[in-house]
Chain length 380, copies 4
């Protein structure tokens, strides 16, 4: 059954394999009137791209998106927006030798269990190549959110292997610190703590040379999110955000606000107390009116209470496993059940985290855009 | 916009507030031919119930479900199954004093921000009372899964505060060890490590007496899950499971298999190697046929690869925050923006984990049932 | 797979059989702030009820709805609204004799082909009894539409057998003329042309005495529908309205505006020319602004162009077959494939049209309410 | 909100404007293992194409589809199938003069009312150009249905203006009679009654010369449809089929089986009596087993009872209005509310019916494919 769509009001549907002719995304439900061009998509595509540094896969894709519908004279028309990104540098030959083998940690075995057949070239639909379509949709979602609410969505790396960044206040991290080091050179690992960034970089280089890979954790922060987003019960904002992040390849864990640390805490420590920072005109308060503008002193709740946004920054973290494809010999089995030895060739990331950041931003933005539109029906 | 439904093929829709007349669930898409009666729902309702021990809320609900449709002569007919569970012991008076106040850590403020109005009695729709409807649906899902595949879904507590259980092999934990201690007394905390269970019990009792609450972690294991469940890209099984768990009240984190620990690992350590345990008749292998039956020696992948089930046990963990309602005075604000002091009366769980286990089982079973039916369209 | 829900933004899910304990509807997505009580549901339930005249089924149901969620202090809270209507007068004994027989024109055979089992009592889920749930949801939709836009939805009978009403202008028909004759007696057939109404009444009485049934056509008109409702391509307003009407039992045809008569027309006759009735302040016109308020001189387009509402009255007609249950002996087959003779006992409508009118209004209102909320996302 | 998707299990999502770079369709949910290539799409695309005869629009599109995903080595892999069809012959200049005018009978006014902006070139998304995407999806659906069940879906013209075809038995019409006249020349109008076809052809030619257009009716027949398709209540097969047909441009009416003629009939005439044509082995009959194979002597029910397929041929008719674009001067208004005179240039069909037939087949096939997959969950 269909599994390539996400969102109710801002609905994203994707198609495309790693080594097929193209990846395609249809964004249906974007409101009319948003200025949109290919230039809006290019920055995030560049941040997602392979080949951007020695820390990532060296596949060379030009990643030039073509907007084929839904935009007229530079403005969205309200009809479905289709974007096509062609695949240029698919080296399918690399996969001939392993087409009948199940790579450990990969989806080869499970896709075949599911469908009976699979496209083995580059991992087919299970490749991170498909995220190129998500990042296009995410760029539209970001522009929509920023236009409507001033919302900013940022993701950055907080852990690689045992190296952890020290981030005081997630809501004060800026894009510049994620993308560039103090000396103006690119911050290849996308960790805004420069000391940690350097250590992470060295670790990834060492691991790459050792023909291995390493995992990590990214943090995602969304600021200027209007309060009231998310629906009671199943479509809580935290639930839809978690689904969106878990839908990305290699994600093994997601946490919100205090996350797993909440387990060791008491209610009296964990509850975030409200404070009243703005002077609302209280005389206006009538039934059905929104509540006064409150903030909380602390943000252990990660910007959502009862699954609905509070107006405080949304803070989440996602754990990403070490790349399954490692250029080492590993024992495995073939389609006939015979033992075999496998050495993955292809071009792979020694660590997924640097390129994971823009993917995570895209997914969070898509969910927030969806819930921003859904919220328009919340009141009479 | 609607947020009270989950599932595509096995679709669960709920309604109901904490102190309204009843909670209702409609399960649409359950195949015809499944024997079903109220007796199938009662055990999980009892495990979810308040008042089952001194560790949980003392609200007394009889929780007698009435199946009002979709079953004829004890067999599901394929039409939508509606179940009504009436609320008996709603003490709405407890909430009059705080109807205009925003309880810290609760959804009062965000619901009001969303809808302009809210039902303050017992937390309204944001109360854990709504999970009574989920547990009914989950019991149907469990029976369906067990009938079709022999699937078992178990959840148990692995951490309360700083007390952690030692569980060697999640897939070997049995219901008996979760529900009963060696001496035959009820295992109130639902931790299958008896030493830890006793320590956890003492901790919760102490915290209750201290008018506070405490968080924890539950682990959920599903065995005999057929391989091939889950859809490429957005509706990965891990994504839908994570959404389902995050949709439960108070969940702050979810992890699969190795979880956040993957961040510190290398690919060469993390990859689970396949092994061939059964003797398939390999001569039969033809295009489109499922692959040979492989297992993995280790289960860091938590039973899903590429978001699709591998046939290995599905293992997840969920972090649950300490109950926000604590019987202590806390400062907060009222609807007009004035400061106020709040003492939550009501009847609340000092720790949510003992009752969280059956709720988590229900959500995991609902998602697995949905994907089991969705998988029927995977091949010609 | 689930088939008991309709609507994306205003979503209605139903459950219930003819002779089960109750029918249930959950309305999810109704905005918060709408005054709502049982009194809002009763008038349409009375119009849908059996036993209201000698022209309809004599089953006696009290049809007392209970709103069990989603309303607090008489106002919708934005959470899902569940309504339970219990079945009082189910005479299941009438069906014992025919439980293994397939009634001609009924769903007995096809339900059993689908599910392998069926609830034979009163037709189970295929009975028009399920429309009690739709009418509850429709009453909410009507109130929402009227509050938001002043929309009115009316349905009335325009044909029974060969008797046709003469209706000059559908948009000028009033509720009073549908429900009451000039002499103040109830207009049992719900035809606003009094002469035709009398003739129809006589025809139905004659057919009932002849132990037969008869078909007819209803017209549905919605006025004060805002322009712009409906989505490009698949979810055109006409498409969703047609689906909603065809989802009602016994509907064999639906037409919009000129309907089937369009086949014999030329474009130069069929095109409705615009006229400008209001004096818009044209100086305000900017890009992205809505167009000037135009109407059309004629309404062959039935209020929708390109599947999107034009602001003109929406006019549709639905053809309803003669009741399949007739109190005559008919030959048929039993479950084992043996020939059998069947005489339907039960209590049936000799003509479905009088009770069809409120059902059709409900379905049209549900679709319009859905698209009214969907339209909130159409522009930036 | 999104409106460019149809189907739950076999889900079709489209994008594209008349004069944009391309039209795109994503088919998500097609089972793995179906042989599929561009050659499967070409015949229906040719039947839908402009320029195929003097009776239709003379726009010249090569209509070469590119399958960019979901197929590997000529077999569907179960992942989403994206198809791109580029637009070659868009003459947007024709529309410059009328970009600010509202063409009578067209969607110009309503699209602008909805979105504030619109793409005026060739009617944008409201153009019949978008059906190129539907026909690609329909071709996949047809192949799937034929492979699974031997299902055939045929559509043909039964009325143009006042000329009506005489069709004895819809289920015995063959593709050859629709596409070719007895003398081997193409049957341009797609009416399988050759005498009527000639008369229709002459009528369309005359109307075209008169700078006008004409409406008509198409009949759609699906044979070898398995019994049991369709869901109780809202997703009845007739409801989903009606929606699909009404979603096509210019459709003003849809009827099933007896259609509007049912209004003048009695139950004793209308009920189709069952007959038992095959010799089932009745000894096998057990609870939950499907019923014996019955047919009906007549087919006034049009192949569906209770909205669920009976195994008899599905027979529907759709009324299509005369093309709104006529090469005559018509009065209208511009965006500022000023009166204007409009002469549509562009290239338009004097009668939509000849090209409507393949579009209708596509929509019916998509719905049947969807319900065929949905039916896989109907029983344990």
């Amino acid at each position: 059954m269909p599994g390539s769509s996400i969102g109710q009001a801002f609905r994203v549907t994707t198609a495309g394999e790693s080594h097929g002719p193209a990846n395609v995304v249809i964004v249906d439900g974007c409101p009319a009137g948003l200025p949109l061009s290919v230039d809006d998509l290019l920055p995030d595509l560049a941040r997602r791209a392979t080949g951007q540094s020695s820390l990532v896969s060296q596949r060379k894709e030009s990643d030039v998106p073509e907007i084929v519908s839904g935009v007229h004279e530079g403005i969205t028309t309200g009809t479905s927006i289709a974007i096509v990104v062609r695949n240029d540098d698919a080296r399918s030959k690399d996969y001939e030798a392993i087409a009948a083998l199940y790579r450990p940690g990969h989806a080869d075995y499970t896709y075949e269990a599911k469908h009976g057949v699979r496209d083995p070239r580059g991992g087919g639909r299970a490749s991170a190549r498909e995220t190129v379509a998500r990042v296009c949709a995410g760029a539209i979602a970001k522009k929509l959110l920023h236009t409507l609410h001033g919302t900013e969505v940022l993701a950055y790396v907080v852990q690689i292997g045992h190296v952890r960044a020290a981030i005081d206040a997630p809501e004060r991290v800026h894009r510049a610190a994620i993308e560039t080091l103090e000396d103006g050179t690119p911050n290849d690992v996308r960790c805004p703590d420069p000391a940690a960034a350097r250590e992470m970089r060295a670790l990834i280089e060492a691991i790459r040379k050792d023909r291995d890979s390493v995992g990590g954790v990214a943090e995602i922060v969304a600021t200027h999110v209007p309060r009231g987003l998310g629906e009671p019960v199943f479509d809580k904002l935290k639930a839809d955000l978690a689904k969106a992040l878990f839908s990305l390849p290699a994600v093994m864990g997601v946490e919100v606000g205090s996350g797993f640390a909440c387990a060791a805490m008491r209610g009296s420590e964990h509850n975030d107390l409200f404070e009243h920072t703005r002077h609302d005109d209280l005389s206006e308060h009538t039934r059905g009116a929104p509540p006064p503008a409150l903030t909380t002193r602390t943000n252990r709740h990660g910007g959502m209470l009862g699954g609905i946004s509070s107006g405080m920054p949304i803070v989440m973290r996602a754990a990403v496993k070490p790349t399954s494809s490692i250029p080492r010999s590993q024992p495995t089995f073939d389609r006939e059940g015979h033992q075999a030895s496998l050495t993955v060739i292809g071009r792979h990331d020694p660590c997924l985290l640097p390129r994971f950041a823009p993917m995570a931003e895209a997914m969070v933005a898509i969910v927030l855009a969806d819930h921003s539109l859904r919220q328009r029906s919340a009141r009479l």
